[in-house]
């Protein structure tokens, strides 16, 4: 009997019963609500984000690692396992959950006032309200400190002007966490998307993450009260801490996409025959499979280590960078290698590999590009910053 790549070392032994139960639940939800449809969504470049959000809210997936306000209060490891199972279905669907839970909800949960938490979090946890997180701008990606969006005091409130680009969930969001520069430095707001002057246009023609809604936000003199400002957020450290949260989910999630590719490639290799026998019987194929299985498991162990540390003591940003850099890089390498095993079928939408590979191109770039994470690690190792 062949063993599945992640069962090779019986890594499941490292999880608690509760973690396994949560993992199984997310796998079941993904099998029911995502897998049968996702290839079609991807092809059409659309996903039923609102329906999915509601389904995920019902089981408590949204903001599952946060406490109070209707959130489940699960462990970081359980959250990571959930991301892995979701991304095994599709990175776009995992992105929806990451942005909702780790970016939008986390920002409000961590930096919001009690009123803001009461207003937004229970509905977001239940999947009735969708959130997005606007940091990136057309001209400011890796270097958000240069942001051009401005927050100007106006009487008791604020006026926001500028624009955000590449914002996941923006076209369907009810609330946008918007980061802007004010006199006192970077400030954050929870902006209801119906506020006059706020528009979100869908970014079309993506060749990656096509089952995820991405938007361009325009802020044309958007007036909000001071009660929309996240009072505890001071400076760029606030949005960066949210990114650290979300990156942790990617450390796990990317492995899901890789696992799905590897499963597909193994199943294909054992049934596809060339030169009179299954291609799985060729040593070159086996070498590829063995190497990929190793990287997958090493990545999983790295993710679990970070998860256990996260639950025990919290993580330093460079630790999450190490996880994101390694696991996304290896996941994309696995996806590309698996593609070769499927030959021409590897480029067909009949199989999930090309979809995963294309998705991982976005995952490699968002939440800090690979290069930026190399710089974070380089700085940690040398004490010298190479950013500026």
């Amino acid at each position: 009997m062949p063993v599945a790549p992640l069962d090779l070392l019986d890594l499941d032994d490292l999880l608690t019963d509760e973690e396994r139960a949560m993992r199984d639940l997310v796998r079941r939800v993904a099998d029911d609500a995502v897998r049968p449809h996702v290839a079609g969504w991807y092809e059409r470049g659309e996903a039923p984000v609102r329906d999915l959000t509601r389904t995920f809210g019902e089981v408590g997936l949204l903001g599952m690692h946060l406490t109070g306000y209707g959130c489940a209060g699960a462990s970081a490891v359980a959250y990571g396992l959930a991301c892995l199972e979701l991304e095994a279905a599709d990175s776009g669907v995992r992105s929806l959950v990451s942005v909702q839970g780790s970016l939008a909800m986390y920002a409000i949960w961590r930096y919001g006032s009690e009123e803001q938490k009461q207003r937004w979090l229970p509905g977001m946890a239940a999947g009735e309200l969708i959130g997005c997180f606007g940091l990136t701008e057309p001209d400011h990606g890796s270097d958000p400190a240069g942001m051009a969006t401005r927050a100007r005091r106006d009487g008791d409130g604020w006026v926001l002007t500028g624009g955000k680009m590449w914002i996941t969930n923006a076209p369907v969001a009810d609330v946008a966490v918007i980061w802007a520069r004010a006199e006192e430095g970077v400030v954050g707001f929870a902006v209801p998307t119906g506020t006059p002057g706020f528009t979100a246009r869908e970014v079309r023609n993506k060749m990656s993450l096509r089952a995820s809604a991405t938007g361009e936000i325009t802020l044309d003199e958007v007036r909000v009260g001071d009660d929309a400002r996240l009072p505890e957020a001071r400076g760029l450290r606030a949005p960066l801490s949210c990114l650290t949260e979300a990156r942790f989910g990617i450390v796990w999630g990317s492995l899901g996409a890789a696992r799905d590719c590897l499963h597909t490639a193994i199943a294909y290799a054992t049934s596809r025959e060339q030169f009179g026998r299954p291609i799985a019987g060729f040593q070159l194929t086996q070498a590829k499979l063995a190497d990929m299985a190793l990287e997958l498991q090493k990545g999983w162990l790295l993710a679990l280590h970070l998860g256990r540390r996260h639950d025990a003591a919290g993580l330093r940003p460079e630790q999450v960078s190490a996880g994101k850099l390694n696991n996304v890089r290896e996941a994309i390498a696995i996806a590309r290698q698996c593609r070769t095993i499927l030959g021409a079928n590897g480029v067909s939408a009949e199989y999930p590999i090309m979809r995963h590979a294309n998705n991982l191109e976005s995952v490699l770039t968002y939440e800090g590009t690979s290069e930026i994470h190399q710089l974070v690690l380089g700085q940690a190792l040398t004490g010298v910053s190479a950013f500026a």
Partner: protein
């Protein structure tokens, strides 16, 4: 309303299942053990009744130690508590003995309504609900595809081959359900976390006053004498179309009495 739901742990019917060679019982060691699928519908029905009418939902399971996994899984859907009848002497129990043990356990639970699946995917005998009702001296509404609760009166639509029958009874009663009755909910993360804190009471045969020789292999009224694997499928008949394939197909269907 005090509701008890019978939950059985069974080997996953989606995977390959085997009997052990030494005593012809299900090989649980190699199987992936899950909640009997039909029982999830019974749990869902119980939770819906509780949501509408209040009360408590208790899971009752007879099974080996490892059945606790299924009990926790059932609790993660929302029931309040569980009772686990576990005793080494129970291994090999037949349906008659099982009904005796469950009836004794139910004797300690004071249930208004006992819900269960219409059958288990391993035994598939469909007799347990009837036996249980008989032992308890209460009504049996079996094979329900719909259940309505109005105070102490229960009305069920009993699914039959041709349609359905409407049957009713007063509580307490045993109601067994088919998978047409509802759509079981997913457990939730909160439910999974809460499940490990919910009370699970274990009862032995001694606790129930049932003697070991009435159950298990010793007391079984039926036994599996031998078993063998289903023979591998033989090659099918291949019809090459030389103009008469349609006729040949119809003839085949007629001889096999499919049409």
């Amino acid at each position: 309303m005090n509701i008890v739901v019978l939950v059985k742990q069974v080997p996953d019917s989606g995977a390959e299942r085997n009997l052990t060679s030494d005593d012809n019982t299900v090989d649980r060691g190699s199987a992936n053990n899950v909640i009997n699928e039909m029982d999830e519908y019974a749990i869902e029905e119980a939770l819906k009744i509780k949501e509408a009418h209040g009360g408590e939902v208790t899971i009752l399971t007879m099974g080996p130690d490892r059945a606790t996994e299924s009990i926790r899984k059932a609790l993660s859907m929302g029931p309040d508590a569980a009772v686990h009848v576990v005793d080494d002497a129970l291994a090999g129990s037949c349906a008659v003995a099982t009904s005796k043990v469950l009836a004794a356990a139910l004797g300690t639970l004071n249930a208004d309504l006992i819900l269960c699946g219409a059958e288990s995917t391993d035994g598939r005998v469909q007799v347990l609900p009837h036996m249980l009702a008989e032992r308890l001296g209460v009504a049996a509404l079996t094979g329900a595809r719909k259940l309505t609760v109005d105070g102490a009166s229960l009305t069920a639509e009993r699914q039959t081959e041709e349609g359905y029958e409407v049957v009713s009874a007063a509580t307490p009663a045993v109601v067994s359900v088919w998978d047409t009755i509802n759509e079981p909910r997913y457990p939730s993360f909160k439910g999974i976390m809460a499940a490990k804190k919910k009370p699970v009471r274990t009862l032995s045969l001694a606790d129930l006053g049932v003697s070991a020789d009435e159950v298990g292999f010793a007391g079984a009224t039926s036994a599996v004498v031998e078993h063998s694997k289903r023979p591998p499928r033989s090659a099918g008949t291949k019809i090459t179309d030389e103009g008469t394939a349609g006729t040949q197909l119809v003839e085949y269907l007629v001889t096999e009495k499919f049409v």
